[in-house]
Amino acid sequence: MKYIDGFRNPEAAAQFVRQIVAQGRALDEQGRRVHVMEVCGSHTMAIGRYGIRSLLPGNVELISGPGCPVCVTAPGYIDAALALAGRGAIVATFGDMVRVPGSDSDLTACRSQGGDVRVCYSPGAALELARRQPDRDVVFLAIGFETTIAPMACLVEEAQRQGVKNFSLLTAFKRVPPALRALLSDPEIRIDAFLCPAHVSAIIGTLAYDPIAADGRVPCVIAGFEPLDILYGVHGILAQVLNRQAKVENLYARVVRPEGNPKAQAMIARFLEPVDAAWRGLGVIPASGLALRSEYAMFDAAKKFGIAVCPGRQQAGCRCGEVIKGKIRPSACALFAKVCTPENPVGPCMVSAEGTCAAYFKYGLPDKTQGEKK
């Protein structure tokens, strides 16, 4: 299929790599290193899967940022979900969440102790579950970035239209642009450019990044998930860095429009409003979350059940917070690939299929192999 194979053409990739190496050499002559942060879990996995880090010059570093929605969710959110299960609600969730540790336990342990935790492959399945079991409360664990938030808003509309009263969301929605701003203002992290997320950008549009590129003086380049897309994105970033530019460039124009998806934005604005949100690793970022508006409180599980979502405690020794910020690589964590593995994850970055630690464990061979050789 040309819309997949064409974006994996190995000859074109070789040509991109050659040009990127030349760009790296030109930057090296100026004594410059470039730190590019990708802020999308699917980019993190694609970069690992296609071995893109190994193709880049030594002075061009790809850093994985807070692009995995499961990973950035604070442990206190899991505590709240456990409390809801403890009150007899059916807790419906995407599969990744069942193994994410809360402060003291997780949903897998809860299920083994009799809690009713169901894995759904789509949020619509959770609503269907509520329709089929009108005598039970069904709470969907509603986490995610803008890409997931828009479908969730549709789901609330559908629940309202169908009069499903036993369905609610435990929300921990996150918005990407405030996180990018918070990262740029953090003196502990050096970011020279953002490789911006593909499908989040399909919702929010390229214009959402204009103030970030201008105020932060960093290139913001939007790229797709295929290997050529990512190389094209890195090439675009380095071209800007060489020319000392800091602008928004859309290299995924086949999907992302300047204005984004207005219909999705309207749905989000209708049902949700900005709130301060706690991010694992980044702390509380003002107006970086979205919560259901008060007129839809009947679909807000925290309000409906009087549950407070507290920050919670990270597992001892787990450095997911620093990994999420791009402050350390997974291999700098003493637990990585020893105590913390995909089979027995300690932190969410190893649990999630889009987590940085999971990506490094699965594909990040230099780090893992070095550890094994020792």
Binding site: F7, F16, G124, P151, C154, H199, A202, L228, V255, A264
Partner: protein
């Protein structure tokens, strides 16, 4: 996914690798069978702009040709 048909209830049936999936179309405007959809959590969140996709593919093909022609030249040298 390629939209194969729109059902009477407004939902789409989209194909990927020979399998058909039900896709909610409420976040996209004016789609018709034959359109390529970007699907997330069961919802189409955007449609693929085929003209733009083809333009990017042409660029990549040109780059691939450059490599191929350089390889031929190198092999032709004694």
């Amino acid at each position: 996914m390629k939209l194969a048909e729109i059902r009477a209830d407004g939902k789409g049936l989209a194909e990927l690798d020979g399998c058909r999936h039900v896709v909610d179309l409420s976040l996209v405007n004016g789609v018709s069978p034959g359109a390529y959809l970007i699907v997330h959590a069961g919802y189409a969140i955007e449609t693929l702009d085929q003209e733009s996709a083809d333009a990017t593919l042409s660029l990549f093909e040109e780059m691939a040709k450059e490599v191929a022609s350089e390889t031929r030249s190198a092999n032709a040298e004694p």
